[in-house]
Symmetry: C2
Subunit: 286 residues, 2 copies
């Protein structure tokens, strides 16, 4: 068996979907869930996502050969601290955090002798929903998973985490921590900030009820990500603050240019920006 | 028959879908298309969207009892000028422009004695695609259509345009021109500007190829509207400039607050904004 005992800390959309997917391909014997919300964990048992659960992280990781830490970024440091002494000396550990520099710093601080077997990861997949009820086995099929292996990592640990994702249909790529954080700031964190900010702007308007009534399909798609979990995105904003502020700076410069072009009625500039954007978007969206 | 001869000037996504929908419910005898691109018009005949076409607007509107002007906002003024003398004295005229103040000004300038039968309209529906090939009869089902009737309008003309949309499943509401332009600036024009601006920002980055590779579903939804027709959106930006600049100003104020909260690590402020936005978005998206 690829994994004897899989421990999922944080049985939400990502952790739950990973457990479902691994079970479906028969890649693990037993799945132990861990979390603070026992109702959610009971529900995860009912849904067949996990076999049993522990509310104590130290008890949950006992004798697990694979540990996936799928908790919000702000909770990562205390979770590493809570499990470090209880981890088996063979356990391979990974996480699914959306920013990697802080997770790596947290791991350096607390995982000690386990660092060689901790391989940071980030599946580029998700929906705006949260919780185990929203999880599904197909979430990672044909999606990318970025690993940011550490210099300290054993090759065997990197290979095991790579296989974990490949077994469930994901495409694994390796990247440096800094590069991951920059790419994700641009493609994910900035869009979330803009969507939250736009909806909040509209929600503050006097005629907000009417405004939302006339929001059509384009607006619905555009703002879907503003329905994402506020606590999780708060954590991401703080964890990836530097890269986010840098990309926000670039965006503000471009938006100011476009705003000025609209103010001046500069047709050429407006059309150039829109045409470049459409070309780039059509190209990547295939 | 509700309409004997329907003239659609601009047989694209909106004009084409309207013709298809009206034919499907048997609301018109004959559909005459008008445009500059004869290949597109030939295609519209092949698709059964129109019966025949004219490239001269004046010839196209001859003896039509209903004329729908579905051309880009920047072309509206010359189109009104081109058809005014040729319109039948009974013709009811409407348009589908995304901004109404400029269209109304254009109509005042050129439609003269037909103004009493010109009822400005705007269906809140569309996709990021363009052209008659993208048109479909269901586009307006259960969608809202805003009419901004003029003081000069005959009640009979307003009733006819209202019925036109209701016959194909749309919900018609009336609104003042100024209010329409403000609501649309917030719910449609601002999101398009942000999406275009974001994609252009990313397209200018050195590692743009890699960046777009790691863009996931959320990004794809968020930027879908950046695949919309650049020329059409250029026209909208200039036609609704004042309302757009006002709503852009409000957005910039909110984004600056959020940016500062991220910079300062102000957890409370970040979570408050995200939570308010999620609540508002979940509420309107049902």
């Amino acid at each position: 068996m690829f994994i004897q005992r899989l421990c999922i800390i944080g049985v939400g959309l990502i952790g739950g979907s990973l457990a479902r997917a691994l079970r479906r391909v028969g890649a693990c014997d037993e799945v132990v869930g861990c979390g603070r919300n026992t109702a959610n964990l009971e529900h995860a048992i009912e849904l067949g996502v996990i076999d049993r659960y522990e509310t104590s992280p130290a008890r949950a990781v006992k004798d697990a050969d694979m540990v996936v830490v799928a908790v919000p970024l702000g909770t990562m440091v205390s979770m590493f601290s809570a499990i470090s002494d209880a981890l088996s000396p063979q356990a391979v550990i990974t996480d699914v955090g959306s920013a990697k520099a802080t997770v790596v710093a947290d791991a350096h601080q607390h995982l000690g002798r386990h660092l060689s077997r901790f391989v940071p990861g980030h599946p580029i997949a998700g929906t705006e929903k949260s919780g185990v009820a929203a999880s599904f086995a197909e979430l990672f099929e044909n999606r990318r998973v970025i690993l940011t292996p550490l210099l300290e990592n054993e090759q065997q640990a990197i290979a095991k985490v790579t296989t974990l994702w490949e077994k469930i249909g994901a495409n694994v790529v390796n990247m440096s921590v800094a590069h991951h954080d920059e790419v994700l700031a641009a493609t994910s964190h900035l869009p979330h900030i803009l969507a939250y900010s736009l909806v909040d702007t509209l929600a503050k308007m006097e005629d907000r009820t009417e405004i939302f009534q006339f929001a059509a399909g384009g607006f619905r798609d555009f703002t879907r990500i503003a329905s994402s979990d506020p606590k999780m995105w708060h954590d991401i904003c703080l964890a990836n603050r530097d890269a986010i502020l840098k990309t926000l700076g670039s965006f503000n410069t471009e938006l100011a240019k476009l705003t000025e072009a609209v103010r001046q009625g500069d047709s050429q500039c407006i059309e150039d920006i829109f045409t470049r954007a459409k070309t780039a978007r059509d190209k990547f969206a295939g």
